[in-house]
Symmetry: C2
Subunit: 127 residues, 2 copies
DNA sequence: GCAAGTATACACCTTTTTGTAAGTACCCGA
DNA sequence: TCGGGTACTTACAAAAAGGTGTATACTTGC
């Protein structure tokens, strides 16, 4: 990969690339979307984002923090108390996810049929 | 993982899960977004979605087709001629990606700074 | 004291995803 | 006929992502 080859072509149609870098991660969109509800403690988040492991949840939270879309608040209490909040940027990003969410809801029937056939999917009965 | 454990908790806040199943894949959002411009031949798509390999592009196109968001048209000519079109569902999905794209464009400066520090990123000068 | 809950860290392993290199069958232009 | 273009396919390898299990340090409840 020469630098020239990278530079002489536009990245893509628009900023999608940038966004994708931030939200790619199995649980990231879910985390962001959930945080729209307000500051959330770690444990609460973990219960919300079902099936995520500690390791991965922490890891993705760190990455999202490093990307400036959320903030970690450590109350330095014992037992530990920490919560996570969206930054301004994070909020706008989370809101940009809403259409995706809506699409999923609208097309859930079709999707469920397809996924049931391919994998073994049974969830997604709405929240 | 008992079935009960899966069933007694709502999948998530909304249909995001469903959407994510469809669009997760390194190049899928890019593919979908590009196809908003109309039917596109394989080669054209490949040139648009820079850095993707044949194997992966084909693979993701197949998955997207299987998910009912795009259609493959084989003109059965020789040399081969094939193009890809969004279905109705695909179009609505691709449009749901627009806010993400907009977010990326708006926050590109911040993102670029961050990414430059972490990885070695130089692209993304707008299209 | 022992288990459970709090929010993590770390080592290790598996799965999933992506990439690389080559091959196919046919055509066109030099 | 050699090289390039078309749209793939396959075998193989590498990398990224995710998961598991254990440990921390301290508290509360039984």
């Amino acid at each position: 990969m020469s630098d020239a080859a990278i530079l002489d072509t536009p990245a893509f149609t628009c900023g999608l690339d940038a966004t994708l870098k931030v939200i790619s991660g199995k649980w990231k969109p879910l985390i962001l979307y959930f945080l729209l509800r307000g500051p959330t403690r770690y444990g609460e988040l973990k219960r919300a984002v079902r099936d995520v492991s500690d390791k991965v949840l922490i890891q993705q939270l760190k990455e999202l923090e490093a990307d400036g879309v959320l903030t970690r608040n450590d109350y330095r209490e014992v037992p530990p108390r920490v919560d996570y909040t969206l930054t301004e940027m994070g909020q706008s990003l989370a809101r940009a996810l809403e259409p995706l969410c809506a699409w999923g809801t609208e097309n859930m029937a079709e999707m469920q049929a397809l996924f049931a056939a391919r994998d073994g999917w049974g969830r997604g009965k709405r929240g």
